[in-house]
Symmetry: C2
Subunit: 385 residues, 2 copies
């Protein structure tokens, strides 16, 4: 019988020194997890790997004190699918969440999400197929995208870097095959931010390929002022203008501004996402939802999120996950989402895809290896060894 | 200058074996924190103490890796009020939350809340007054309640205990001076729960002094069925019928049912509370809000919660905190809330007040000692020693 033989985690520091409008990343950490099994491949036990998306710190205590002990005391068959031929991440999810009260979705959602990623990696490796194919067959009527639209997220605030460095950064993304970029706003004066945006639009050549992200910094008045200032520019989207849980503010922006908006990376449960689509007044044809499939309890919860947005009349083609890694890329391909984020320059070694993977006109082809393909990213694999 | 000289935390196991409709508490833990200063009283350095409310587990990693290091690297004066004569928990709060992204309110909210409690304990001890007096002067125009209305929360599901034990438990609360009780529902069949409620109402003698708590267990249909079944009974309130973040469900219940409702213990930020009062359809004259001032980032955030509910037309007299301990009792007195929860029989040693404190007709008088009075509860103090 398939059994989990070892669960391991470690906290890892991300070496980054930039700021968004809200925080510095200088002390950001993340968790990596390995789930080892008794399934043998090429003489080695199969291992599933998972790691945090950036922004929410390592979760060693929740993993070691709550999540791992529940998985360890479960009977092996309680973690398997009906045929006993593979792990069942849905059953594992319920076990990981035993004796957890409802509400309070943060931190715990990261711990569970990292293990969920490792379990889906295993499920696909046991099937011997890329995760995107597994997801397409199980959750998307066999349909998938073989290439995924991806934009380059960067444009952070760095101490001692000016607009020229910002221009160079954006040019490097275009040179490496991206055709759209995202930059941070809200961490400087409106006038300074507008200068930064204009510089980036000039480099990219098309405002429709430049998104701006305020990381929840603005109050309603500031968010309206900023929105009105950029409204005529025709930018790609205006992201997280205000607090991510302030659905009233979002509804007022949706009413007042005529430009695409995006949010969701700081909503960590399907209940929160349901509130956003119920009360946030967002436009199903124009706006984007950016929930993070790792920070928010993993793919099992992400599928619930897709269900609640579809019940509200959205399609999954409006979803473009936060996270910038291969796990989200597989979801975008296998579930046919709008696309995926990418951090070509930052959040190393968590950001980015396989070493050999490069975009063409912003599109990434999925690698044909079993699982997520974490093994194709050498600086990430160094953490696991 | 006043300085924090030491920050200490420890994870503590709560020895309880009951269940509510959602979880077992058999493995529940909590955090205790001591904040030591260079302020001397009776030859000893003043120490502020804080501890978790029940239900959300210990937070050692967040405290030791994120919250404590930020407080330790702050300049001492950055933590003091303008006169330099006392600690300023508002400034400390901003420092504890440095480099924390918005949203994701859980776990972190407990870590910050436990330290916030210890800081307010210190503030009151430095002033040499009970915390309730400090709060009355600072945040309530000097007005306070000298006695606080408190109900006895219990009636959990225990393996191998029947209705007779439930009756005995409720009778023991009445005998010890409570006049109202709360019991758990949703963990058995509707028929069984109705029998349990009827038994308790019979013991208490008045349905208006019996509240029921489903701990978020029901979906909309179940919540409506249960609500309609108890509607004619005239119970005190119907608590957390559905998921705490499902404001749509709450609005439908509010519309369909004519009985007092209560919720909020699993909302851990003022943003979440604002959503509840904006979108939950609750009745400002009839319903109750039960936010927990420890699990939800402490008193600093609780004051923000009071502001957003008052902006929505509620009064703080509709607030009755979750938690069942002296910190919430001081808030209820000093801010003139509706009252406070009490766990006379459970969540030891965190539940309950000073050893000598007993209710009269459900009312607790506040002890006249500096700070919160944690030192008056001997089994809790054993943890700190």
């Amino acid at each position: 019988m398939i059994e989990i033989t070892s669960l391991r985690t470690r906290a890892v520091r991300m070496e980054e020194h930039m700021r968004n409008a809200y925080i510095s990343f200088a002390e950001m950490t993340g968790s990596i997890v390995e789930v080892e099994t008794n399934v043998m491949r090429d003489g080695q036990p199969l291992v599933g790997r998972g790691f945090s998306s950036n922004g929410r710190y390592a979760q060693t205590e929740i993993l070691e004190q709550r999540v791992f002990p529940r998985l360890k005391r479960a009977q092996p068959e309680a973690l398997l699918d009906a045929a006993g031929e593979n792990l069942d991440p849905f059953k594992a999810w319920d076990i990981m969440m035993e004796n957890e009260k409802p509400g309070g979705h943060g931190e715990r959602s990261v711990a569970v999400g990292v293990v969920d990623m490792a379990l889906w990696d295993l499920v696909a490796k046991i099937e011997g197929r890329p995760l995107c194919r597994v997801l397409a067959d199980r959750f998307n009527h066999g349909r998938m995208d073989t290439k995924v639209y991806t934009y380059a997220a960067g444009g952070y605030y760095y101490p001692e870097r000016g607009i020229d460095a910002l221009r160079d950064e954006m040019k490097s993304y275009l040179d490496s095959g991206y055709d759209a970029v995202k930059m941070k706003v809200g961490g400087a004066s409106l006038r300074e931010d507008l200068r930064r945006i204009e510089a980036v639009v000039e480099v990219v050549g098309d405002p429709g390929r430049v998104a701006v992200d305020a990381n929840g910094r603005f109050n309603l008045e500031q968010a309206l002022d900023f929105g009105r200032a950029i409204e005529p520019m025709g930018l790609k989207w205006y992201e997280e203008a205000g607090d991510p849980l302030d659905y009233g503010l979002q509804a007022e922006l949706s009413e007042a501004l005529n430009l695409p908006m995006a949010t969701g990376e700081n909503l960590f449960s399907h209940q929160d996402v349901r509130n956003l689509v119920r009360f946030g007044g967002m436009d199903r044809k124009r706006d984007f939802l950016q929930m993070d499939p790792v920070l928010a309890y993993g793919l099992v919860e992400y599928l619930r999120m897709l269900r609640v947005i579809e019940e509200a009349g959205w399609t999954r083609r409006r979803c473009i996950p936060h996270g910038g890694h291969s796990f989200a890329l597989h979801l975008a391909a296998g579930l046919q989402l709008f696309g995926n984020e990418s951090y070509p320059g930052v959040f190393q070694p968590f950001g980015g895809f396989g070493d050999e993977m490069t975009p063409e006109a912003g599109m990434f082809a999925l690698p044909d290896v079993p699982g997520i393909g974490i093994e194709l990213k050498s600086n990430l694999m160094e953490l696991f060894q």
